[in-house]
Structures are given as structure tokens and as C-alpha cells.
Amino acid sequence: MTTTHDEHEVTVEPRFVIKPKDINEEISWAQINEDVLRSLERPRPLYWIIFFGSLGLFCWGIYCEIYQYQTGLGVAALENPQMWGLYIATFIFWIGMSHSGTLLSAILLIMHADWRKPIYRFAEAMTTFSLMTAGLFVLVHLGRIWQFYYVVAYPNERWAWPNFNSPLAWDATAIGTYLTTSIIFLYFGMIPDLAICRDNATGFRRTFYVVMSLGWKGTDWQWANFRVTYLTLACLLIPLAVSVHSIVATDFAVSQQPGWHTTSFPPYFVAGALYSGCAAIITLFIILRYTFRFEQYMTIPILEKLCKLTFAISMIWTYLNFVEYASVWYGTDEYAKQALIYRATGQYAGWWWAMNILGSIVPFALTFKALRTHIPSMMVVSLLLNLGMWIERFMIVTPTFAHGYYPWTWTDHWWPNWVQVGLILGSFGWFTMLFMLFCKIFPSVSMYEVKEMVYHRARARKAPAPQPAQIPRPAEG
């Protein structure tokens, strides 16, 4: 930065020197368009393996659901007192997954963290689809799915409202609002990119993108309105995201059961949600990077930043987890203490310890640069973290049912059967299928924001002559 090409150039102080680049700044705008639009055409074969694999899982889940619907919930090994099984645990898991999309797309937008730009689009899509999956779990869990609309608060001719005291009625409202806002936010942020797709498409695809891009021309007036609206939506989405998982936490905190009746649950759940969501973003980052040849955009520096963010959140989660244990341990509620001891030593002790190790110790792998930059290791670590967070939800729900207040109902034998496991696998299939379809139909990297990145950097650096590209473009095929 010390060499000057222009005698009027001011020497840049070291603290203003731009840090290692997130993406190669020498990519031209046309190149960005070409690369991203290519993802809508022919992905690598792995894409189809994942897509059809998840379609198969989804069909299996549909079969399980039809069987359960026709026969009754008893086929899912539910019993008294194990009334919820894995459905609610997995519901919380999916709700949690949905939070990091908002973190990346809205919170980091407001904080002007530029590195989010190439990856926020798919994170936001992950938010939407995991919320849909979570909604499915609420339905699958109901004894009478066909009456689910009783839970929704809407004026009706029967004058029958839901019970507004119940956290489940709050849930229905909060999730509905969050899902609607997420879809609008995702779609709205995509409009300029859809216009690019429209300009490059032919045939029925063109018709589709013409409709979807809502007549976007890219005029100054449109951009000005777009910016304001997008920022407003982002500001609206952030409190919604926090409130949704807080409300899911109140499903437990409001109830009276030992192990659930904890005031620290809402922040604990939000931290857990961000944690599992970040881990899921790392997983999808790696998959997309490979299948759609996004090596230019989903770069190692961005992965590193994502890993650091995940590590920070994992430590917050660890702290809140510890706070929960400590407040129970030093509290006066003997039942809650017994429930905690049961978790650590009872039937599900192995899972409890696995959760603590996966959730609090494995993230320390993220502190090593060698691991952070090694993609296969990151795949393994992110999957492990997500497994740990799923077990966390399992450990919140199940042991309390197994070891509640009333000794006569203590059970030690409960275990889910194939219907429950099938439905959970089916939900993963449904999510992955939708996500993969999304990435094939819509641009999963935000073209216009990546262009901003390149543009701003080029202007900010100003002085030095263009340097050769540091990140080689991948070979075709």
C-alpha cells in the first residue's frame, strides 16, 4: 500500500488497510452473472444424488405419516406419560435452524458485515424451509390434524377463539408471522436477481422470471425504494426471530414440569437456535460450494468468519447451559434438581453427556485455523454440532416426561420406534428437497450484493494496480 501511482494520492494508514479479501475482487460483474446463472443450469452429479436421496426420504416420511394418520398416534410408540416423543424435540430443532438465516441476512445487514453477502441468500432460504418443516411437525404431532385451525387465532362465525393463555396459541401466531415475513424478505431481496435471470432466460423460464421479477428495471427510483423497504423488513424480522424462539421456549418455561420450569429458557433457546443454525449454514455452505461450483464466492475466508461466529455463539450457548444447570443446582426446587440428576445419571445419561461434549467441547475445533480452512473437517464438525443440538432438544423434552413429579409414572424404558424416526428422516428429506429445488430455480448467491462487494473494494483500494487473482478459477466440469 505504500507505493503510489498518483502523486496526489494520500498514503493510507495501516489501520485502514483492507484486510484479507473475502472474495476475489477482480471478478467482473458479467462474470458474476455468468457464474451464478450457471448454477441454475447444470450442477454437479452430487446435486442429483442429494436431491433424489432426499426425495426418497421424504416419500418414506409421507408413508409413515399416512400410516400414523390412519391408525392413530399410538403407532408412533407414544404412551402415557411419554406423550410428545421426538416430534416436539425435532420441532424445536427446525425452529432453531431457522434463526441463523435471519442472523446472516438481517442482523449482519444492519451491522454492515460485508462477508455475509455471498451466503445470506441460501441462509435465508434455509430459514424459510426449516420454518415450514417445523410447521409440519406441529401438524404431525396433533392427534386430530384435520382440526388444526382451531389453534389459529382468526375471527370466525363460531366465536370460538384459541386459549390465549396457552403458549401453543402464541406459537401458532408467532410462527405464522415469522414464516410470512421470512418468505416476503427472501423473495423481496431476490427481485433484482430475478430480473437478471429474466434477462438471460428463454422460453417458459423467461415467462416464469418475468412474473417473479415484478417488472424490475433497476431504475434509481426502484433501487431507492428497494433499499428502504429491504432495511425495514430486516428491522422487522429481527425482533420476530428472537420472539419466535422465546415463545417456543415458553412452551416449556410456562409449564410446571421439573426441568422445564426455568426462566432462563428463552435466551437459552435463542442461543441454541443461532448455534444449530450456524452449524447448518456451514454444512449447506460446503454442499453448495461443491455442487454449484461456487468456489469463487463461497470462499475460505468467509467460511472462516462463519466458523468464528459459530464458535462465539457456541460459547454463549455453553454459558447459558451452565447457567441453567447452576440455577437448578443451587435453587430450592428439589424436583428440578432431581430431574437434572436424572438427566445426568438416568436412562438417558449417555445422551446427556454426548450433548454436553458435542455442544461445548467439539466447537473448540473451530479455534484451529488448520481445521477451519479444511473443508472435509468442517463438514464433519458442523454435522457433529448439529447432532449435539438435536440431542439437546431431545434432552429437554424426553427426560421430563420420563421422570416428572409423580413417581408412579416414572418410566425408564421409552424409546422411539420406526414411525417416529421415519417421520424425522422424512422431515430432513423434505427440507433438503425443497432447499435443493430452491437453489436450482432461484439464484442462491445474491448477484447484486456480490457486485457491490467487488465494486466497493475496487474503489476503496483505489491506488494500487490490479493484482493478479489470488483464488484460481476452478476448472470447468
Partner: protein, 317 residues
């Protein structure tokens, strides 16, 4: 549907919540006393309940899987150090009939998303099958786990023809996916109340009994109207010094002035008061036998409507 209707409907929402001194002037408050000293675990009450309330017989396999539908169950407990013999495994067992406690501050009521379980004016914790969507949150929050879920469509299998002929026509048969629980035989109560109303009087003590109370051979289960201070149940509750609700009690039909101003409101939650009374009676040298009433998991402040009388009889008898 007009907006006027809509808003008036909003304003009436949950007006029927249990309120302070709701039963001071109410005609009915159904309650129960179960004398564990008299209970010998014969299961007659359970059988009567099955017959009265159209409970599905689920079969051995589903019973073992925890999917039984017994609204009233006899629990067996063995004291610490009891040796269980192969020959007489029941020996030394103590019994506790457990049914829905019809709590005044019921944990199940606040969490039901659709309000399918709610409090009736005569103190019952009722379950509306038509409204239930089967979220099972009520069961999750019930400390006693006395709510039973229709995991299967039991009417298909529980009463093969001609057994359906013995179903009680006053009680519905529940479909799959709804929660159900002890109703204190609400069909009998409704019938007795309407009969009394046609005769312009209140239901007399002993005029109506739940099926379990009727079937109990040792009269361990007492059922009656707590609002009627001369009823047997009310006298037993009073003798055991069980206070119904946590709210300040009315004196002469009115809350005292100081209490109304909130200056010296002494909430006298029942357990403390009972402990005080217990200490007093013990100081007076009286035996503890006179005060053996308790409610299950009282410290959760659910205020159940069922009082159990402690067992004093030794196991050898």
C-alpha cells in the same frame, strides 16, 4: 358476524376463570374424599368407571405399552424395605386410587391451545372432546398424569359386537386423537342437577354419587357438594382443615375492608396453615389421627378437589 359481536366476544373471553371465593355463594362445588385406610385395592371403582364412562378396554399389549385408558387407577406402593415374595407379590402393598384431581388452579387448563379443557361453574375441570385437537400439552403439564389420550380409534376394536350394546348411552364414545380424563361422572351430576331444578331445590347430599364412590365396597370414596356446608364431604374437609383456595376468604359474605385495600392481605395458602394447625394439635397432645387429610403434590398450588386421608392401618392387618 359483526364487529360488535366480535368485540363483545373478546370482552367475555375466559370470563369463567376460577375466581376468588367463587364457591362462597355458588350452589355447587363437587369434591371428593378418599380414605386410604379403607381402600383395599379391590379395583371395583376402576371396573365401575370402565362401565359407566365407556372406557375402552385396550388389551394386554397396549396396556403394557402405556396406552391404557383407565381414568381411575389403583396405584400400588410398597414401603421401603418391604420384601416382595414370588408367591404373594401383592403382599404389603398400599393402595392409592388416582383419578383426575379436578384442580382449582389446574395446570392443564392454562396450556390447552384451544380451550378444550376449562373450568365449569360447579368446580369441575371439564374436557370438551369436540374442541380437542390432540396437542397433548395438558397431559404434559399435568403433575399427576391422569389424562389419557386416544392413541387409536378404540371404538373400532374395544367393543366387538354385541358388546357395544352395554355402552352407557349418556356418555359419548371418543374418537382417536382426543384427550380424555375423569369427569366426576358429569353425566350423573347434570342429571341430578336438572332433576333438582325441576323440583326447585338443590341437589341433596348423597343424592348423586360417582360410579367409583357407588361401587366402593368399603366406602373409601366419599363424594359430594363442598358448597353445601352440611354435606359429608364438606364436614370431612373442614375436619381436616383443608382450605379450598389460596385466595382470602370472605367473612360474612364480604372481604374485609383492610384486605380489600390490599394493606394486610394475608394469603393463607393451605399448606402453611395446615402445618400450623398440625403443630397446634400436636402441642395439645392430641393424636395425629385426627388430621390425616392431604392433597397430592400440594406444594404445586394446584388446589385439587380430592382429599386423601392418610393410611394408618398397619400392613399386617
Amino acid at each position: 358476524m359483526s364487529f360488535d359481536n366480535l368485540f363483545s366476544n373478546w370482552s367475555k373471553l375466559r370470563q369463567r376463570r376460577p375466581q376468588a371465593d367463587q364457591y362462597e355463594e355458588a350452589p355447587y362445588k363437587w369434591a371428593m374424599v378418599i380414605d386410604l385406610d379403607a381402600c383395599m385395592g379391590c379395583n371395583a371403582c376402576t371396573t365401575a368407571c370402565y362401565a359407566e364412562n365407556n372406557l375402552a378396554v385396550v388389551g394386554k399389549e397396549r396396556f403394557g405399552a402405556g396406552q391404557a385408558m383407565h381414568w381411575l387407577r389403583i396405584e400400588r406402593y410398597w414401603g421401603e424395605g418391604t420384601e416382595l415374595t414370588q408367591e404373594f407379590p401383592e403382599q404389603g402393598a398400599q393402595f392409592l386410587p388416582m383419578l383426575c384431581q379436578q384442580c382449582e388452579a389446574a395446570p392443564c387448563e392454562i396450556v390447552c391451545p384451544v380451550g378444550a379443557t376449562h373450568h365449569t361453574a360447579d368446580g369441575l375441570n371439564s374436557q370438551v372432546y369436540n374442541r380437542c385437537v390432540g396437542s397433548r400439552y395438558c397431559s404434559a403439564n399435568c403433575p399427576y398424569k391422569v389424562r389419557y389420550f386416544n392413541f387409536f380409534n378404540y371404538p373400532d376394536s374395544a367393543w366387538p359386537s354385541p358388546l357395544e350394546q352395554q355402552l352407557n348411552p349418556d356418555v359419548t364414545v371418543r374418537t382417536k386423537g382426543v384427550m380424555e380424563k375423569c369427569t366426576f361422572c358429569v353425566q350423573r351430576l347434570t342429571e341430578a342437577k336438572s332433576k333438582a331444578r325441576t323440583e326447585h331445590r338443590l341437589v341433596r347430599d348423597g343424592e348423586v354419587l360417582t360410579a367409583c364412590a357407588q361401587a366402593c365396597p368399603t366406602s373409601a370414596i366419599h363424594f359430594g357438594n363442598l358448597a353445601d356446608s352440611s354435606s359429608q364431604v364438606a364436614r370431612m374437609w373442614k375436619a381436616q382443615q383443608v382450605q379450598l383456595s389460596a385466595y382470602p376468604q370472605k367473612k360474612n359474605g364480604q372481604i374485609e375492608e383492610t384486605e380489600r385495600l390490599g394493606e394486610q392481605v394475608e394469603f393463607a395458602p393451605y399448606p402453611q396453615k395446615k402445618d400450623e394447625q398440625k403443630e397446634e394439635t400436636e402441642q395439645l397432645g392430641e393424636t395425629r389421627e385426627k388430621l390425616r387429610g392431604y392433597r397430592v403434590l400440594e406444594d404445586l398450588r394446584t388446589y385439587p378437589s380430592v382429599v386423601y386421608l392418610e393410611r394408618l392401618r398397619s400392613t399386617e392387618v
